[in-house]
């Protein structure tokens, strides 16, 4: 069965304290891996898409990487405005989401 697992479920960081979020997946026929950011009461906002192992994408303080079994979202020197839930999803013809990691960055 296709499955996506994110860890940790929640993460608290001090402003400037770098860390990584993990997304592990077990799917057949991976067509792409997606990272989204979701603020409370809003829809997911697209961040990155990765298609092959070894691929990396960067945007401001965020960097996403992909291996054959997992993806990491690295957050460098986070700011309070980076606080949100980060969702990972794999595409196998449809999007299968993990449960998300809720990040809180304290000033």
């Amino acid at each position: 069965e296709d499955q996506v697992t994110q860890s940790p479920e929640a993460l608290r960081l001090q402003e400037g304290e770098s860390s990584s979020l993990n997304c592990s997946y077990t799917v057949s026929g991976l067509r792409g891996l997606f990272w989204y950011r979701q603020d409370p009461g809003k829809g997911p906002e697209f961040l990155f898409t990765l298609y092959s192992a070894g691929e990396e994408k960067e945007k401001e303080r965020l960097k996403a990487t992909l291996t054959k079994k997992e993806s990491f979202l690295h957050i460098t020197a986070p700011k309070p405005e980076d606080s949100a839930t980060y969702l990972c999803a794999v595409q196998t013809g449809k999007l299968i989401f993990g449960q998300g990691t809720t990040l809180q960055v304290k000033p």
């Binding site: 697209f46 969702l87 299968i96 989401f97």
Partner: protein, 118 residues
């Protein structure tokens, strides 16, 4: 350029009632997908519409049905509402399928409709 728009924003219904949620895709997009997101969980795929037909379906009962119109907008209908149907319902749209390059269809989400069933 308007993004994905959904209506209504919030909705309160009672058990056994029926509800219709609406979605207008991003300009230029022709594929619409619907998701259910329970509190504290990731979105769960309900179904996807393309060329006015249901193309894929997740593990949801037949009480969940949909429709896509010629202008690519879509509706999600839920019959015989249960308390467990309370959730945020998300619509996502994507670009026309590029059949030679699968997996390139990024889905863009609307803000969702918050449904509460009492």
């Amino acid at each position: 350029d308007a993004g994905v728009t959904q209506s209504p924003t919030h909705l309160i219904k009672t058990r056994g009632q029926q509800v219709t949620l609406r979605c207008s895709p991003k300009s230029g997009h022709d594929t619409v997908s619907w998701y259910q997101q329970a509190l504290g969980q990731g979105p769960q795929f309900i179904f996807q519409y393309y060329e006015e037909e249901e193309r894929q379906r997740g593990n949801f009962p037949d009480r969940f049905s949909g429709h896509q119109f010629p202008n690519y907008s879509s509706e999600l209908n839920v019959n015989a509402l249960l308390l467990g149907d309370s959730a945020l319902y998300l619509c996502a749209s994507s670009l026309p399928r590029d059949r030679g390059r699968v997996g390139k269809n990024i889905q863009y989400f609307g803000a969702g409709t918050r449904l509460s069933v009492l």
